[in-house]
């Protein structure tokens, strides 16, 4: 055996940066959470309410509704949705070995959109009244899930999933979904069109405990499963063959990645509509800051995605209060220029 010569003095280890980032990002998430609970259009004060609780007093109705029924479910929704979008972005990018991949390119988003539009336009005609307000999220989730599983089946032959086939079929499926959505939109009335538009812009305003209780566990499950994908996705960065050589169960990694993204994004989109940009920007920022190691990237993406979505939500409800700006507008307006600025600054330093 060769002598283990090490001159680690000059060695920089990005894993340490990434671990330090865990701490910073947890801090950021805590701050964002408090901001999300404390800031809102109404004058209800989180601190006054906590003070009351500490003194054993009853909260008045307005405090209870605003804090417990509006802001708290919204906080939880923001955390799980933001984390899910960012983690799904990181996982998709790792799976497709492309920093531009997001759940949109494999048709999850178009599937969810089609489901949502069907619920909005055809919902009143279907004998599914028992679903009530759950109809739209249920349809969106089913749409996302069906499209992803369909793609997976199309791209898998003899137990092997071809990522390239999946990408191409995803584009075709997205086009088909877009066309069917167009068909629905054509037969929609004016009010339904408005609903479709607003749904596409995304919002956490519709967050309720009922939705949190249904979608939350699905998203959390998907997130936890995603956390196990780090090493596999690192291996896939070397290519599928090399990943197999270093002991990665490649097919299992792909299957888990695809199913967890379908479940997580499906549920997230179902309860919050179309929120763009988080899935691309968050993993990219973190890759620039702490490197592409997916074991770190996925955890940090969850934390940063949740924080950013909460902050965007605070902005969305304050900036034109008492009205609200759809959050998809906020994430894009704030996210896009920052993203471009980062790209310009890092141009030439780091290849995508």
């Amino acid at each position: 055996m060769v002598a283990l010569s090490t001159d680690s003095s000059a060695l920089r280890d990005r894993r340490q940066t990434a671990r330090a980032a865990h701490i910073w990002l947890i801090g950021l998430l805590l701050i964002s959470s408090v901001a999300s609970l404390a800031i809102g259009a109404s004058g209800t004060s989180l601190w006054a309410a906590l003070d009351k609780l500490a003194q054993g007093q009853e909260l008045d109705l307005m405090e209870r509704v605003v804090l417990w029924d509006i802001r708290l479910p919204r906080l939880v929704t923001g955390i799980v949705v933001g984390a899910s979008l960012a983690v799904s972005g990181a996982v998709m990018q790792g799976l497709f070995r492309n920093p531009l991949a997001d759940p949109g390119i494999v048709g999850v988003t178009s599937g969810a959109t089609l489901g949502a539009i069907i619920a909005i336009v055809l919902g009143p005609l279907l004998p599914l009244a028992f679903l009530g307000t759950a109809m739209l999220p249920v349809f969106a989730f089913v749409g996302a899930w069906v499209s992803m599983v369909l793609l997976y089946r199309v791209a898998t032959r003899a137990g092997r999933t071809s990522v390239a086939t999946m990408l191409l079929a995803g584009i075709a499926l997205a086009a088909l979904g877009g066309a069917l959505s167009g068909l629905m939109i054509y037969s929609a009335d004016d009010d339904q069109l408005r609903d479709v538009t607003f749904w596409g812009l995304g919002s956490l305003a519709g967050a309720t405990w009922a939705k949190v209780l249904i979608a939350g566990p699905i998203i959390l499950g998907a997130l936890l499963v995603s956390m196990t994908l780090g090493r596999g996705l690192n291996g896939l960065a070397l290519g599928e063959a090399a990943a197999n050589h270093i002991g990665i169960a490649v097919q299992r990694t792909k299957t888990i990645a695809i199913l967890s993204v379908a479940a997580g994004v499906g549920a997230a989109v179902a309860i919050s509509g179309g929120i763009g940009f988080i899935g691309i920007v968050v993993p990219h920022l973190l890759r620039l800051a702490t490197g592409p190691d997916h074991r770190m990237l996925i955890v940090n993406s969850a934390l940063l995605g949740a924080s950013l979505l909460l902050l965007a939500d605070v902005i969305s409800r304050v900036v034109i209060a008492p009205a609200e700006l759809p959050i998809g507008i906020v994430t894009a307006i704030l996210g896009a220029p920052v993203f471009i600025w980062i790209l310009i600054r890092s141009r030439g330093v780091v290849d995508l």
Binding site: L4, L238, A241, H245
Partner: protein
Amino acid sequence: MLAFEDISVRYGRKTVLKAASATLQSGQVIAIVGPNGSGKTTLLRAISGDTRYDGTVALNGQDLSVLKPWQIAEERAVLPQISTLAFPFQVIEIVRLGAQASTTGHQDVIAQAALARVGLSGYANRFYQELSGGEQQRVQLARVLCQVWQPVVNGRPRWLLMDEPVSSLDIGHQLEVMQIARDFADQGGGVLAVMHDLNLTAGIADRVLLVHAGQIIADGTVDSVLTDDRLSNAYGCPIRTRSVPANGRWFLLPGTNAA
């Protein structure tokens, strides 16, 4: 011991490898040679698990088809001919990707040692994409060495499978990589390499498998396998081989009818 028996590979209807069989002993550097399209890389890909095949491959007595990827990875590493990499990983991060679960305790130390072994210790924090092709190839070799750093573990030899490991290297680094392979075998591991350069092969290989038209047509020492007639037939051109007068070592002169 690495044994394969009746390995056949078909791409569509075309059979590119027909019933290849051999039993390879560790402690040796074994070269697979043959002209372009002969099936030599296909043979290595089948043994590496990159392609579907009929027949059996057994590593240290265990059929690979019943082992999990991580079990196989503990006992053999593969250096591909061409490596691609997504995302801006740093050199040391790539080398560390080779580390296995059983590489306990010293993973980082081994990764750095592997990098030093290929002469790139100063490159740890460089971005892989910024390196030259030859440097990238050596980083991949360091990753592979990191995976099977100890040639023998608990009496079980490990294997290095390499597909044209020196294809993008200059002559100095070619010799360096060959020396790494030699050392690995001398310490009890097994090396199986697809080789393009017959002179380099002759300088290092303990055993040569000559592949032609999808079949292993000769198997043995350099002198017994690489004969003028066989090479001329396989490569489709007149080939003359000679011995170095001083030490009797085999070499091939390029060009026809060389003196």
